[in-house]
Symmetry: C3
Subunit: 429 residues, 3 copies
């Protein structure tokens, strides 16, 4: 009973045309050219590396796309159980007309060739958008991105700010800021001017969010201008040799300034909380980051209280933080639960986290899912995974456990998948 | 199969007459007079506030009960998914003969009027007790509560001690202590005397528990009398300006003294662990508290070892602490797992936590549920929610997974719901 | 549907002949002689103690095996709900031909007598191995174990190193080291020599792993030889009176030296992370340890990076750490998720943890289960519990949710139960 029920709910949710509110798509080159663009995704390279494939073999310079794909698929055996592998298969079936249910040394070449052919079509990106039922995708733009050469209503700009908050110690950041804003950041006032110009630029180009990823130890506080002044002087002159306290004060000052600009420009500020960078420096590209699950949203107490008018869509890296996210979204008007991020983007954790959110956070304050993808082809299988789990939770926890009608359940699912993205980010409506 | 099974188990558990071992009922005014008493519950005001309803609209002074209810129901749209909303609907259906399955701008007025009429009946409280199949409820009494004017076998007193442990810095607390005990607390000896008198008073009035809620940072240790003496002097003279170390020492001294009195008077000491007060000061009344899930029962190691003869029914605020509660209850004879508290009182967390307890804690050491209610009308839907989940866990994890008979499963459920309340708190038997 | 399906999967997994990769079996006396050996297991004594049975009654010196068993069974009432009790019943049914489904004051004596008779048979141990479908078991050997008098291919030695890392403060450890290695540990060089000899001895006897249990606060770092030298001098002369920093430096130095020897001898290094010893000193034998769930694998970052060639099968005590274990196994080639340990070895946590691992860790890097048993009779019911849960997860999360064939699901289960033990520990193949 429950299986037919959830299939019915899935079918309806699967008809929706969606907006993907967080991706790493390059608007100038959004989709893949060969399977190497697909399998070069860190979800595959890191799993293959973890399963024993040498980094040198994976990342060898100068090998052809076909060679790279062949090597990775030859080493697929140990990862066929993973949900990530299933994304690849579903993508191949639905977008590339692949008919098998596993890709092996025996059949990969024909798939590679077929993919290359399809992907070289002029309208390939359009085809992917259509088959994936996607209307638009949010980008992740460096602060000095010119945001030119693409349709910003389809590829929605989003100001990514990790460099500003955590890497002003790097002289290159100051140079990039100067080039992007014509402002030489030398003190608090010029820093404010430069950041204000970034926001003006981004919002003039249709940006719909500011975003940042944050380490577990970060606990933003307001610092006085005087403190910011000395800290900034220290960091700009000494770089990474600056006192840790000064570096922290600068991060806090910049972070607070970003929040002030989000308020002024009415931009939601996506907080992605919990990542430790380069925990495994010998890992493959983008496969080096991990986390410490000992983090709490209480660290954001001052921020959430200081900016009641800024909406903070929050993503947490570890599922053990999800209950805090539920509780903080249930109490703070400006906190929104946002998707299922990275290491929590696997079915078991999504199901538990999604169910807990659906029953205790106002339905208007939950963004169901974003793909976090680097290439357009991943939206389809990732959203499909989420929609199946959402359908399961709606079927079991609402229709069966709480006697909801199927229609009401689909309506709730629709709001999570589409409606809230529109209202929270002011897009597509 | 499993759904019929769990319905059968639920039907049997639902016949039980229960004692609610933790509520905030006012014995002199236990039930509601209008729907405003129901919807004024922080579970509704805080969700509506979180969903965007201004605090001023919710808490405006001088508006009528009907006006308040109307405003809240007009803003119900965003919270119809929540389990808290479902409590309201089930309460209306079962206690107020409401026939719909949603309360909207179109039907709320007639419900309001019908409710007011029913609630004004002389025997309304009795009716609620009967329909809810409740025999008695535990109260949460301030230490200076005279405990007069009500039947203490039906409204069982419970000494709440947060003020004593954490607010001796407030001069008002000292005055209240003097008024309640005729003892002027000026030093360790007089503090012991005063607290002893409170316990004598409460137990003479049939109190069956001492209770306290504790912040995540609290880690009780024994302090010497000499240390307590200087700390108490500092706190009594300087109030909140006293050294933090002194404040902590006083909290520890008072807390330890409470445990000594629990031992002397054979009272269980309910520990409700994990709440941070006033995290969101701009929140609605009672909708300002949150938590830091980074807490461990290891913080209570000294206490649990020092008082082997005191039973500690422990509630934890975050589900991530539940496994520790399971393990500590499994090892320490004096630890009992107590209900599903506040932010963990939602189906997904209850189910996971309940299942983990049922399979690893002795069956005599688990208190299934308490309502934590402020008005009598909430016992019915809250216990019903819990009983449905308990029936589900018993059906799936015991009857199906472990081949238990339905009879044995119901017996286990009965012990959690009723038997253990009797034996642990020495009531109703 | 799902129940028949999981039964079919279970039946197939239950046919496998297994190697148990972590036990506390005494190779010279592996199985029980009476039920007292079974019920003396801390899982029963601690639960009975927790449920109110006095320690003096449980551990009284000089009582007969029959008297001890009688006392424990008389007090079984409060623990019949626990999964541990169900192990006892299943063991009695499958190994002792017990026909009831509960052991009570009315029937225990005949069971005791029947058990004693069966257990006194010369081939009892062989019978248990056969009925349990076990081929061999890993031991937990003290570093000074001579490893003589038994078949090391059936009872596989494993070097347990807690004493070396944490108890060099105890003069007895130094004496035992001298006796075992003919090396008087007085400085860094002689410590290295002694440890090298232990590894040579153990590997010459067919040891297949080095293992250690670690407290939540441990965070291994490399210390210089100079630092180790002064710290070791301090610890060897002052014992537990040595500076805490010195004790920590010695633990780090020894721990790092163990990892170096694991690398040199190609031994996996089992890390069992999270236990606090003697939290409840008044508890029964082996029923005194608990934990602090606030622990993170980030504490092992330096170690994991420093020893890419050492395989670390990691067990975590608390289920809240399982997601980190999933993520670290997904990224680090040298991290393997290992079994379900102790307080996480109950169905609810196993199911959640197992499901999360199966969908995100390469299938080659997961060791499904070990029994941790002290007596051979426990392998059967403990593995049976795990196999039922594994079958449930494979049925629901793979066959139903992901359209896997039953054959593919059984293959994955087989790899977790048997294949990976062979490849990771280089045994049985």
């Amino acid at each position: 009973m429950s299986i037919e029920l959830r299939n019915r709910l899935f079918e309806q949710l699967d008809q929706l045309v969606l907006i993907d509110p967080h991706t790493h798509i390059n608007a100038l080159d959004p989709s893949s050219h060969t399977l190497a663009d697909i399998l070069g995704y860190h979800y595959y390279t890191e799993l293959s590396h973890s399963a024993g494939m040498p980094k040198e073999l994976i990342e060898e310079e100068g090998i052809s796309a076909k060679e790279k794909v062949g090597r990775l698929i030859e080493n697929f055996g140990p990862i066929t159980n993973t949900i990530q592998y299933s994304w690849f298969i579903e993508m191949a079936q639905k977008l590339l007309d692949f008919e098998g249910d596993s890709v092996t040394v025996d059949n990969w070449e024909s798939l590679f060739d077929a993919a290359e052919k399809k992907m070289s079509a002029d309208n390939w990106t359009e085809t992917v958008f259509e088959k994936s039922r996607l209307e638009s995708v949010f980008l992740t733009n460096d602060f000095d991105d010119p945001l030119e050469g693409f349709d910003t209503s389809k590829y929605v700009p989003c100001l990514r700010t990790d460099d500003l908050v955590f890497h002003l110690t790097n002289p290159r950041t100051k140079v990039r800021l100067l080039e992007a804003t014509d402002t030489d950041v030398t003190d608090v006032a010029s820093a404010r001017t430069a950041i204000g110009k970034l926001f003006a630029h981004f919002t003039s180009k249709g940006a719909k969010a500011c975003a940042i990823s944050l380490p577990p130890c970060f606990a933003p506080v307001h610092v006085s201008d005087a403190r910011a002044e000395t800290a900034l002087a220290s960091v700009l002159s000494k770089g990474t040799a600056a006192d840790e306290a000064d570096q922290r004060a600068v991060s806090n000052f910049i972070f607070w300034t970003l929040a002030e600009n989000c308020r002024a420009h009415k931009l939601p500020f996506d907080l992605m909380i919990g990542v430790n960078r380069k925990v495994f420096p010998a890992g493959v590209y983008q496969g080096q980051d991990l986390y410490d699950s000992r983090v709490s949203l209480i660290q954001y107490k001052d921020l959430l209280n200081a900016f009641p008018d800024v909406t903070f869509p929050i993503s947490v890296l570890a599922s053990v933080t999800n209950q805090e996210l539920v509780s903080y979204s249930w109490i703070f008007p400006n906190v929104v639960a946002n998707g299922h991020w990275w290491y929590s983007n696997t079915p078991t954790y999504i199901q538990q986290d999604c169910a807990a959110r659906l029953e205790a956070i106002p339905r208007t304050k939950q963004i169901g899912y974003y793909s976090d993808m680097y290439k357009m082809e991943f939206a389809l299988p990732k959203f499909a995974m989420y929609k199946r789990i959402l359908a399961k939770v709606l079927a079991e926890n609402f229709v069966i456990d709480r006697n909801w009608s199927e229609e009401a359940a689909v309506e709730l699912g629709t709001q999570l998948l589409r409606g809230n993205v529109e209202t929270i980010f002011d897009v597509g409506n």
